[in-house]
Protein backbone atom coordinates (compact mmCIF):
# COMPACT_ATOMS: atom_id res chain seq x y z
CA UNK A 1 0.00 0.00 0.00
CA UNK A 2 1.88 2.98 -1.31
CA UNK A 3 -0.30 5.65 0.22
CA UNK A 4 0.11 4.32 3.74
CA UNK A 5 3.83 4.17 3.22
CA UNK A 6 4.05 7.82 2.24
CA UNK A 7 1.72 8.83 5.02
CA UNK A 8 3.96 7.13 7.52
CA UNK A 9 7.12 8.55 6.04
CA UNK A 10 5.49 11.95 6.10
CA UNK A 11 4.39 11.71 9.70
CA UNK A 12 7.74 10.50 10.91
CA UNK A 13 9.69 13.03 8.90
CA UNK A 14 7.54 15.87 10.17
CA UNK A 15 8.02 14.61 13.66
CA UNK A 16 11.77 14.38 13.40
CA UNK A 17 12.10 17.67 11.53
CA UNK A 18 9.89 19.32 14.09
CA UNK A 19 12.04 18.02 16.90
CA UNK A 20 15.24 19.00 15.17
CA UNK A 21 13.96 22.47 14.27
CA UNK A 22 12.80 23.14 17.76
CA UNK A 23 16.25 22.28 18.93
CA UNK A 24 18.10 24.36 16.39
CA UNK A 25 18.38 27.15 18.83
CA UNK A 26 20.17 25.10 21.38
CA UNK A 27 22.09 22.77 19.17
CA UNK A 28 25.35 23.53 20.84
CA UNK A 29 24.59 21.27 23.76
CA UNK A 30 22.80 18.45 22.00
CA UNK A 31 25.11 16.73 19.68
CA UNK A 32 23.51 13.37 20.17
CA UNK A 33 20.14 14.19 18.68
CA UNK A 34 21.68 15.86 15.66
CA UNK A 35 24.21 13.14 15.19
CA UNK A 36 21.57 10.42 15.39
CA UNK A 37 19.60 12.24 12.73
CA UNK A 38 22.75 12.60 10.65
CA UNK A 39 23.75 8.99 11.04
CA UNK A 40 20.30 7.77 10.15
CA UNK A 41 20.08 10.02 7.12
CA UNK A 42 23.48 8.77 6.04
CA UNK A 43 22.05 5.27 5.78
CA UNK A 44 18.76 6.23 4.19
CA UNK A 45 20.13 6.40 0.60
CA UNK A 46 21.21 2.78 0.81
CA UNK A 47 17.72 1.71 1.74
CA UNK A 48 16.16 3.90 -0.94
CA UNK A 49 18.39 2.31 -3.53
CA UNK A 50 17.51 -1.13 -2.23
CA UNK A 51 13.81 -0.32 -2.62
CA UNK A 52 14.27 0.96 -6.13
CA UNK A 53 16.33 -1.94 -7.43
CA UNK A 54 14.44 -4.79 -9.09
CA UNK A 55 14.24 -7.52 -6.48
CA UNK A 56 16.90 -10.19 -6.68
CA UNK A 57 15.64 -12.93 -4.40
CA UNK A 58 18.89 -14.81 -4.19
CA UNK A 59 20.94 -11.77 -3.36
CA UNK A 60 18.49 -10.85 -0.63
CA UNK A 61 18.67 -14.32 0.89
CA UNK A 62 22.41 -14.36 0.61
CA UNK A 63 22.80 -11.03 2.38
CA UNK A 64 20.38 -12.10 5.12
CA UNK A 65 22.23 -15.38 5.63
CA UNK A 66 25.63 -13.74 5.79
CA UNK A 67 24.35 -11.13 8.23
CA UNK A 68 22.85 -13.76 10.52
CA UNK A 69 26.03 -15.81 10.32
CA UNK A 70 28.17 -12.78 11.13
CA UNK A 71 26.02 -12.05 14.16
CA UNK A 72 25.88 -15.66 15.35
CA UNK A 73 29.52 -16.50 14.65
CA UNK A 74 30.55 -15.39 18.12
CA UNK A 75 28.84 -18.41 19.66
CA UNK A 76 31.62 -20.98 19.06
CA UNK A 77 34.17 -18.47 20.29
CA UNK A 78 32.53 -18.02 23.65
CA UNK A 79 35.47 -19.73 25.31
CA UNK A 80 38.10 -17.36 23.89
CA UNK A 81 37.79 -13.87 25.34
CA UNK A 82 37.48 -10.90 22.96
CA UNK A 83 37.90 -12.89 19.78
CA UNK A 84 34.93 -12.74 17.47
CA UNK A 85 34.85 -13.30 13.73
CA UNK A 86 31.93 -10.93 13.07
CA UNK A 87 34.00 -8.16 11.45
CA UNK A 88 36.04 -10.72 9.55
CA UNK A 89 32.92 -12.24 8.03
CA UNK A 90 31.60 -8.81 7.09
CA UNK A 91 34.89 -7.86 5.43
CA UNK A 92 35.41 -11.02 3.39
CA UNK A 93 31.81 -11.30 2.26
CA UNK A 94 31.83 -7.67 1.17
CA UNK A 95 35.03 -8.29 -0.75
CA UNK A 96 33.25 -10.98 -2.71
CA UNK A 97 29.70 -9.67 -3.00
CA UNK A 98 30.45 -5.97 -3.40
CA UNK A 99 30.02 -2.70 -1.57
CA UNK A 100 26.26 -2.45 -1.45
CA UNK A 101 25.74 -6.02 -0.31
CA UNK A 102 28.56 -5.32 2.11
CA UNK A 103 26.77 -2.38 3.66
CA UNK A 104 23.61 -4.41 4.18
CA UNK A 105 25.45 -7.41 5.58
CA UNK A 106 27.13 -5.16 8.13
CA UNK A 107 24.11 -3.07 9.01
CA UNK A 108 21.77 -6.05 9.25
CA UNK A 109 24.26 -8.00 11.35
CA UNK A 110 24.30 -5.10 13.81
CA UNK A 111 20.52 -4.90 13.94
CA UNK A 112 20.13 -8.64 14.43
CA UNK A 113 22.71 -8.93 17.12
CA UNK A 114 21.10 -6.01 18.95
CA UNK A 115 17.69 -7.64 18.65
CA UNK A 116 19.06 -10.54 20.64
CA UNK A 117 21.64 -8.91 22.88
CA UNK A 118 19.81 -5.67 23.67
CA UNK A 119 18.85 -2.63 21.62
CA UNK A 120 20.10 0.76 22.69
CA UNK A 121 21.03 4.23 21.50
CA UNK A 122 24.16 2.65 20.07
CA UNK A 123 22.21 0.62 17.50
CA UNK A 124 22.36 3.17 14.65
CA UNK A 125 26.03 3.71 15.31
CA UNK A 126 26.79 0.06 15.23
CA UNK A 127 24.80 -0.30 12.02
CA UNK A 128 26.74 2.56 10.58
CA UNK A 129 30.09 1.21 11.74
CA UNK A 130 29.68 -2.31 10.45
CA UNK A 131 27.81 -1.10 7.38
CA UNK A 132 30.68 1.21 6.46
CA UNK A 133 33.20 -1.52 7.19
CA UNK A 134 31.45 -3.69 4.61
CA UNK A 135 30.92 -0.82 2.23
CA UNK A 136 34.57 0.21 2.17
CA UNK A 137 35.75 -3.38 1.93
CA UNK A 138 33.51 -3.75 -1.09
CA UNK A 139 34.71 -0.51 -2.65
CA UNK A 140 38.32 -1.46 -2.23
CA UNK A 141 37.99 -5.08 -3.23
CA UNK A 142 39.77 -4.71 -6.57
CA UNK A 143 42.58 -2.54 -5.32
CA UNK A 144 46.11 -3.84 -5.14
CA UNK A 145 46.11 -3.47 -1.38
CA UNK A 146 43.23 -5.86 -0.87
CA UNK A 147 44.71 -8.49 -3.14
CA UNK A 148 47.58 -8.87 -0.70
CA UNK A 149 47.27 -10.87 2.43
CA UNK A 150 48.98 -8.22 4.57
CA UNK A 151 46.98 -5.50 2.83
CA UNK A 152 43.76 -7.08 4.03
CA UNK A 153 45.31 -7.44 7.45
CA UNK A 154 46.07 -3.73 7.55
CA UNK A 155 42.52 -2.99 6.45
CA UNK A 156 41.17 -5.15 9.26
CA UNK A 157 43.51 -3.58 11.79
CA UNK A 158 42.53 -0.05 10.87
CA UNK A 159 38.84 -0.86 10.93
CA UNK A 160 39.19 -2.48 14.32
CA UNK A 161 40.05 0.96 15.70
CA UNK A 162 37.74 2.94 13.44
CA UNK A 163 34.81 0.86 14.53
CA UNK A 164 35.63 1.42 18.18
CA UNK A 165 35.93 5.16 17.63
CA UNK A 166 32.61 5.33 15.83
CA UNK A 167 31.05 3.59 18.78
CA UNK A 168 32.75 5.98 21.17
CA UNK A 169 31.12 8.87 19.38
CA UNK A 170 27.69 7.87 20.68
CA UNK A 171 29.08 8.26 24.05
CA UNK A 172 31.09 11.38 23.52
CA UNK A 173 28.32 13.24 21.78
CA UNK A 174 25.55 12.26 24.05
CA UNK A 175 26.80 12.30 27.56
CA UNK A 176 29.90 14.38 27.78
CA UNK A 177 30.21 18.05 28.25
CA UNK A 178 30.80 18.74 24.61
CA UNK A 179 33.74 17.42 22.70
CA UNK A 180 37.18 18.36 23.78
CA UNK A 181 40.43 16.67 23.01
CA UNK A 182 40.93 15.59 26.55
CA UNK A 183 37.58 13.82 26.77
CA UNK A 184 38.21 12.26 23.39
CA UNK A 185 41.55 10.95 24.57
CA UNK A 186 40.08 9.71 27.82
CA UNK A 187 37.27 7.81 26.10
CA UNK A 188 39.60 6.45 23.44
CA UNK A 189 42.04 5.34 26.10
CA UNK A 190 39.30 3.65 28.07
CA UNK A 191 38.30 1.62 25.03
CA UNK A 192 41.86 1.05 23.80
CA UNK A 193 42.16 -2.49 25.02
CA UNK A 194 38.90 -3.55 23.35
CA UNK A 195 39.74 -1.81 20.11
CA UNK A 196 43.19 -3.34 20.01
CA UNK A 197 41.75 -6.79 20.63
CA UNK A 198 39.23 -6.21 17.87
CA UNK A 199 41.92 -5.01 15.47
CA UNK A 200 44.26 -7.88 16.26
CA UNK A 201 41.56 -10.51 15.96
CA UNK A 202 40.66 -9.08 12.56
CA UNK A 203 44.31 -9.39 11.54
CA UNK A 204 44.46 -12.93 12.81
CA UNK A 205 41.30 -14.05 11.03
CA UNK A 206 42.14 -12.26 7.80
CA UNK A 207 45.65 -13.65 7.52
CA UNK A 208 44.77 -17.19 8.52
CA UNK A 209 41.39 -17.64 6.84
CA UNK A 210 40.94 -14.72 4.46
CA UNK A 211 41.98 -16.43 1.24
CA UNK A 212 40.10 -19.63 2.02
CA UNK A 213 36.87 -17.83 2.82
CA UNK A 214 37.12 -15.68 -0.27
CA UNK A 215 37.47 -18.85 -2.32
CA UNK A 216 34.47 -20.49 -0.66
CA UNK A 217 32.35 -17.39 -1.07
CA UNK A 218 33.31 -17.05 -4.71
CA UNK A 219 32.07 -20.57 -5.27
CA UNK A 220 28.70 -19.51 -3.92
CA UNK A 221 28.77 -16.31 -5.90
CA UNK A 222 28.79 -18.53 -8.98
CA UNK A 223 26.25 -20.92 -7.55
CA UNK A 224 23.87 -18.11 -6.68
CA UNK A 225 24.45 -16.70 -10.15
CA UNK A 226 25.32 -13.27 -8.79
CA UNK A 227 27.31 -12.35 -11.93
CA UNK A 228 30.95 -11.59 -11.37
CA UNK A 229 30.85 -7.84 -11.86
CA UNK A 230 34.16 -6.42 -13.03
Amino acid sequence: MRSRKYQLIGVLLLYVIGLAASLWDALSGHYLLISVVLIVTAMVPFYIRLERKPPDTRELVLVASMAALAAASRIPFASIPSIKPTSFIIIVSSMVFGSEAGFFIGATAALVSNMFFGQGPWTPWQMFGWGMMGFTAGLMRHTYLMSLKWGRAVFGFVWGFLFGWIMNLTYLLGYMSGISWSTWIAVTASSFYFDLAHALSNVLFLTLFGSMWIRILQRYQVKYGLGLRK
Partner: protein, 293 residues
Protein backbone atom coordinates in the same frame (compact mmCIF):
# COMPACT_ATOMS: atom_id res chain seq x y z
CA UNK B 1 -10.23 -3.73 27.32
CA UNK B 2 -6.50 -4.30 27.08
CA UNK B 3 -4.90 -1.25 28.47
CA UNK B 4 -1.11 -1.66 28.67
CA UNK B 5 1.28 0.04 26.31
CA UNK B 6 1.55 -3.14 24.25
CA UNK B 7 -1.96 -2.59 23.02
CA UNK B 8 -1.34 0.94 21.78
CA UNK B 9 -0.86 1.44 18.06
CA UNK B 10 2.86 1.05 17.29
CA UNK B 11 3.11 4.36 15.44
CA UNK B 12 1.76 6.18 18.49
CA UNK B 13 4.15 4.24 20.71
CA UNK B 14 7.12 5.06 18.56
CA UNK B 15 6.33 8.77 18.57
CA UNK B 16 5.82 8.71 22.31
CA UNK B 17 9.14 7.07 23.05
CA UNK B 18 11.08 9.29 20.67
CA UNK B 19 9.64 12.19 22.62
CA UNK B 20 10.33 10.66 26.02
CA UNK B 21 13.97 10.01 25.24
CA UNK B 22 14.40 13.46 23.75
CA UNK B 23 13.07 14.95 26.97
CA UNK B 24 15.78 13.17 28.92
CA UNK B 25 18.35 15.02 26.87
CA UNK B 26 16.62 18.36 26.78
CA UNK B 27 16.07 18.99 30.46
CA UNK B 28 19.17 18.72 32.59
CA UNK B 29 17.60 20.05 35.72
CA UNK B 30 18.15 17.51 38.50
CA UNK B 31 14.46 17.35 39.42
CA UNK B 32 13.54 16.62 35.86
CA UNK B 33 16.17 13.94 35.42
CA UNK B 34 15.24 12.36 38.70
CA UNK B 35 11.58 12.31 37.63
CA UNK B 36 12.42 10.73 34.33
CA UNK B 37 14.56 8.11 36.05
CA UNK B 38 11.88 7.23 38.58
CA UNK B 39 9.14 7.15 35.96
CA UNK B 40 11.29 5.01 33.68
CA UNK B 41 12.11 2.56 36.45
CA UNK B 42 8.51 2.35 37.56
CA UNK B 43 7.34 1.75 34.01
CA UNK B 44 9.90 -1.01 33.57
CA UNK B 45 8.88 -2.49 36.86
CA UNK B 46 5.24 -2.61 35.80
CA UNK B 47 6.25 -4.13 32.48
CA UNK B 48 8.28 -6.74 34.29
CA UNK B 49 11.61 -5.75 32.71
CA UNK B 50 13.46 -5.09 35.93
CA UNK B 51 13.22 -8.70 36.96
CA UNK B 52 13.72 -10.14 33.49
CA UNK B 53 16.72 -8.14 32.29
CA UNK B 54 18.91 -7.98 35.37
CA UNK B 55 22.14 -8.57 33.48
CA UNK B 56 21.47 -5.81 31.02
CA UNK B 57 20.56 -3.44 33.83
CA UNK B 58 23.83 -4.18 35.54
CA UNK B 59 25.62 -3.40 32.30
CA UNK B 60 23.73 -0.08 32.07
CA UNK B 61 24.78 0.75 35.61
CA UNK B 62 28.41 0.04 34.81
CA UNK B 63 28.28 2.28 31.76
CA UNK B 64 26.72 5.07 33.74
CA UNK B 65 29.33 4.73 36.45
CA UNK B 66 32.15 5.01 33.93
CA UNK B 67 30.50 8.09 32.52
CA UNK B 68 30.42 9.59 35.96
CA UNK B 69 34.12 8.87 36.50
CA UNK B 70 35.36 10.12 33.16
CA UNK B 71 33.92 13.59 33.44
CA UNK B 72 35.79 14.97 36.49
CA UNK B 73 38.95 13.25 35.29
CA UNK B 74 38.90 15.00 31.95
CA UNK B 75 37.13 18.26 32.56
CA UNK B 76 38.54 20.73 35.02
CA UNK B 77 36.13 23.56 34.45
CA UNK B 78 34.29 25.03 37.38
CA UNK B 79 35.14 27.12 40.34
CA UNK B 80 34.76 24.93 43.42
CA UNK B 81 37.90 22.88 43.63
CA UNK B 82 37.45 19.95 45.95
CA UNK B 83 40.91 18.39 45.85
CA UNK B 84 43.85 17.74 43.59
CA UNK B 85 44.52 14.38 42.08
CA UNK B 86 47.66 13.81 40.02
CA UNK B 87 48.11 17.56 40.03
CA UNK B 88 44.74 18.06 38.40
CA UNK B 89 41.98 19.99 40.10
CA UNK B 90 38.80 18.01 40.74
CA UNK B 91 35.92 20.46 40.70
CA UNK B 92 32.51 20.15 42.25
CA UNK B 93 30.99 21.36 38.99
CA UNK B 94 32.50 18.60 36.90
CA UNK B 95 31.46 16.07 39.51
CA UNK B 96 27.89 17.27 39.39
CA UNK B 97 28.01 17.29 35.63
CA UNK B 98 29.26 13.71 35.74
CA UNK B 99 26.35 12.72 37.94
CA UNK B 100 23.88 14.39 35.62
CA UNK B 101 25.45 12.82 32.53
CA UNK B 102 25.42 9.39 34.16
CA UNK B 103 21.82 9.79 35.29
CA UNK B 104 20.61 10.91 31.91
CA UNK B 105 22.49 8.07 30.23
CA UNK B 106 20.92 5.60 32.60
CA UNK B 107 17.53 7.24 32.13
CA UNK B 108 17.67 7.00 28.36
CA UNK B 109 18.80 3.37 28.51
CA UNK B 110 15.94 2.54 30.84
CA UNK B 111 13.48 4.05 28.39
CA UNK B 112 15.08 2.05 25.59
CA UNK B 113 14.53 -1.07 27.63
CA UNK B 114 10.86 -0.26 27.83
CA UNK B 115 10.64 0.36 24.07
CA UNK B 116 11.98 -3.07 23.44
CA UNK B 117 9.27 -4.64 25.48
CA UNK B 118 6.46 -2.57 24.02
CA UNK B 119 7.62 -2.60 20.42
CA UNK B 120 8.74 -6.20 20.06
CA UNK B 121 10.63 -7.36 16.97
CA UNK B 122 7.37 -7.92 15.08
CA UNK B 123 6.15 -4.37 15.51
CA UNK B 124 9.55 -2.93 14.74
CA UNK B 125 9.57 -4.99 11.58
CA UNK B 126 6.15 -3.77 10.57
CA UNK B 127 7.13 -0.16 11.21
CA UNK B 128 10.39 -0.60 9.39
CA UNK B 129 8.59 -2.55 6.66
CA UNK B 130 6.29 0.30 5.83
CA UNK B 131 9.37 2.42 5.18
CA UNK B 132 11.53 -0.13 3.41
CA UNK B 133 9.84 -3.41 2.59
CA UNK B 134 13.01 -5.06 1.33
CA UNK B 135 15.03 -3.80 4.24
CA UNK B 136 12.45 -5.25 6.60
CA UNK B 137 12.38 -8.56 4.75
CA UNK B 138 16.15 -8.67 4.95
CA UNK B 139 16.02 -8.06 8.65
CA UNK B 140 13.26 -10.53 9.33
CA UNK B 141 15.01 -13.28 7.40
CA UNK B 142 18.22 -12.61 9.26
CA UNK B 143 16.36 -12.53 12.56
CA UNK B 144 14.69 -15.82 11.85
CA UNK B 145 18.05 -17.38 11.02
CA UNK B 146 19.76 -16.28 14.19
CA UNK B 147 18.22 -18.69 16.73
CA UNK B 148 18.33 -21.39 14.08
CA UNK B 149 22.06 -20.85 13.67
CA UNK B 150 22.54 -20.95 17.41
CA UNK B 151 20.82 -24.34 17.49
CA UNK B 152 22.82 -25.59 14.55
CA UNK B 153 26.12 -24.61 16.07
CA UNK B 154 25.32 -27.10 18.83
CA UNK B 155 24.57 -29.82 16.31
CA UNK B 156 27.76 -29.16 14.36
CA UNK B 157 29.80 -29.05 17.52
CA UNK B 158 28.45 -32.45 18.56
CA UNK B 159 29.21 -34.12 15.26
CA UNK B 160 32.64 -32.58 14.94
CA UNK B 161 33.64 -33.75 18.39
CA UNK B 162 33.83 -37.23 16.95
CA UNK B 163 36.60 -35.92 14.70
CA UNK B 164 38.46 -34.29 17.56
CA UNK B 165 37.27 -30.78 16.73
CA UNK B 166 36.21 -29.06 19.94
CA UNK B 167 36.55 -25.33 20.59
CA UNK B 168 36.12 -25.79 24.32
CA UNK B 169 39.24 -27.86 24.78
CA UNK B 170 42.94 -27.51 24.23
CA UNK B 171 45.28 -24.61 23.72
CA UNK B 172 43.96 -21.20 22.66
CA UNK B 173 45.38 -21.88 19.24
CA UNK B 174 43.52 -25.14 18.80
CA UNK B 175 40.32 -23.63 20.17
CA UNK B 176 40.64 -20.80 17.70
CA UNK B 177 41.12 -23.12 14.73
CA UNK B 178 38.34 -25.45 15.85
CA UNK B 179 35.94 -22.58 16.41
CA UNK B 180 36.62 -21.37 12.92
CA UNK B 181 36.03 -24.86 11.51
CA UNK B 182 32.56 -24.84 13.02
CA UNK B 183 31.84 -21.40 11.60
CA UNK B 184 33.01 -22.57 8.22
CA UNK B 185 30.74 -25.62 8.20
CA UNK B 186 27.95 -23.30 9.22
CA UNK B 187 28.80 -21.00 6.33
CA UNK B 188 28.48 -23.73 3.75
CA UNK B 189 25.34 -25.12 5.32
CA UNK B 190 23.65 -21.73 5.51
CA UNK B 191 24.52 -20.74 1.97
CA UNK B 192 23.46 -24.11 0.61
CA UNK B 193 20.09 -23.79 2.33
CA UNK B 194 19.77 -20.21 1.23
CA UNK B 195 19.49 -21.43 -2.34
CA UNK B 196 16.44 -23.46 -1.40
CA UNK B 197 14.94 -20.57 0.53
CA UNK B 198 15.36 -18.32 -2.48
CA UNK B 199 13.71 -20.95 -4.67
CA UNK B 200 10.80 -21.24 -2.29
CA UNK B 201 10.37 -17.46 -2.27
CA UNK B 202 10.45 -17.25 -6.04
CA UNK B 203 8.06 -20.16 -6.36
CA UNK B 204 5.63 -18.25 -4.20
CA UNK B 205 5.88 -15.21 -6.39
CA UNK B 206 8.37 -13.00 -4.59
CA UNK B 207 9.53 -10.30 -7.00
CA UNK B 208 6.78 -11.04 -9.50
CA UNK B 209 5.14 -7.66 -9.19
CA UNK B 210 4.10 -5.00 -6.71
CA UNK B 211 3.57 -6.41 -3.23
CA UNK B 212 0.63 -5.68 -1.05
CA UNK B 213 1.06 -5.14 2.67
CA UNK B 214 -0.82 -6.69 5.51
CA UNK B 215 -1.10 -4.21 8.37
CA UNK B 216 -2.48 -5.92 11.45
CA UNK B 217 -2.81 -2.84 13.63
CA UNK B 218 -5.95 -0.76 13.86
CA UNK B 219 -6.08 2.78 15.20
CA UNK B 220 -8.60 2.80 18.05
CA UNK B 221 -10.14 5.33 20.33
CA UNK B 222 -7.67 4.71 23.08
CA UNK B 223 -4.85 5.49 20.66
CA UNK B 224 -6.35 8.87 19.90
CA UNK B 225 -6.75 9.54 23.59
CA UNK B 226 -3.20 8.49 24.35
CA UNK B 227 -1.74 10.48 21.50
CA UNK B 228 -3.58 13.66 22.32
CA UNK B 229 -2.59 13.42 25.97
CA UNK B 230 1.10 13.08 25.33
CA UNK B 231 1.02 15.58 22.48
CA UNK B 232 -0.46 18.29 24.71
CA UNK B 233 2.04 17.59 27.45
CA UNK B 234 4.87 17.45 24.92
CA UNK B 235 3.95 20.75 23.35
CA UNK B 236 3.87 22.29 26.81
CA UNK B 237 7.40 21.05 27.44
CA UNK B 238 8.55 22.42 24.09
CA UNK B 239 7.20 25.85 24.82
CA UNK B 240 8.94 25.80 28.15
CA UNK B 241 12.15 24.71 26.60
CA UNK B 242 12.02 27.49 24.00
CA UNK B 243 11.44 30.11 26.61
CA UNK B 244 14.49 28.84 28.40
CA UNK B 245 12.69 27.71 31.50
CA UNK B 246 13.92 25.12 33.95
CA UNK B 247 17.46 25.54 32.76
CA UNK B 248 20.24 24.24 34.86
CA UNK B 249 23.76 25.43 34.09
CA UNK B 250 26.53 23.70 35.96
CA UNK B 251 29.38 25.69 34.51
CA UNK B 252 31.03 27.94 35.34
CA UNK B 253 29.53 27.95 38.83
CA UNK B 254 26.96 25.66 40.33
CA UNK B 255 23.71 27.49 41.10
CA UNK B 256 23.21 28.23 44.74
CA UNK B 257 19.92 26.39 45.08
CA UNK B 258 17.55 24.17 43.16
CA UNK B 259 14.61 26.44 43.75
CA UNK B 260 11.79 26.55 41.25
CA UNK B 261 9.94 29.50 39.94
CA UNK B 262 6.23 29.18 39.28
CA UNK B 263 6.85 29.06 35.54
CA UNK B 264 9.37 26.26 36.05
CA UNK B 265 6.73 24.45 38.04
CA UNK B 266 4.30 24.69 35.14
CA UNK B 267 6.79 23.09 32.78
CA UNK B 268 7.47 20.46 35.37
CA UNK B 269 3.79 19.58 35.43
CA UNK B 270 3.83 19.15 31.66
CA UNK B 271 6.98 17.05 31.88
CA UNK B 272 5.55 14.91 34.63
CA UNK B 273 2.28 14.35 32.84
CA UNK B 274 4.13 13.33 29.66
CA UNK B 275 5.98 10.64 31.57
CA UNK B 276 3.05 9.54 33.66
CA UNK B 277 0.66 8.69 30.81
CA UNK B 278 2.08 5.20 30.12
CA UNK B 279 2.41 4.59 33.84
CA UNK B 280 -1.31 5.10 34.24
CA UNK B 281 -2.01 2.67 31.44
CA UNK B 282 0.38 0.01 32.65
CA UNK B 283 -0.82 0.55 36.19
CA UNK B 284 -4.41 -0.02 35.16
CA UNK B 285 -3.39 -3.20 33.38
CA UNK B 286 -1.37 -4.32 36.36
CA UNK B 287 -4.17 -3.74 38.86
CA UNK B 288 -6.63 -5.50 36.59
CA UNK B 289 -4.46 -8.59 36.45
CA UNK B 290 -3.81 -8.47 40.15
CA UNK B 291 -7.51 -8.44 40.89
CA UNK B 292 -8.22 -11.20 38.40
CA UNK B 293 -5.71 -13.58 39.90
Amino acid sequence: MNSGMRFIHPVACLCYYIGAISLVFLFKHPYFILTSLVAGLLLNYLQGNLAARKKLLFFFLMMSFITFLINPLTSHRGTHILFYWLDQPMTLESMVFGVIAAASLFGSLIWFLSIQQVLGPEKILHLFGSLSSKGALLLSMAMRSFPLLAQRFQQIAIVQRTKGVNPLKGSIRKRFRDGMKLVQIMLTWTLEEGLQTADSMKARGYGSGPRSAFWPYIWRKQDTLFTSLFMVAGIGCMIGWFSGLAEFEVYPTLPESLSFRLSDGLIYVCYLSYLVVPLLMEGRDWIKWRSLN
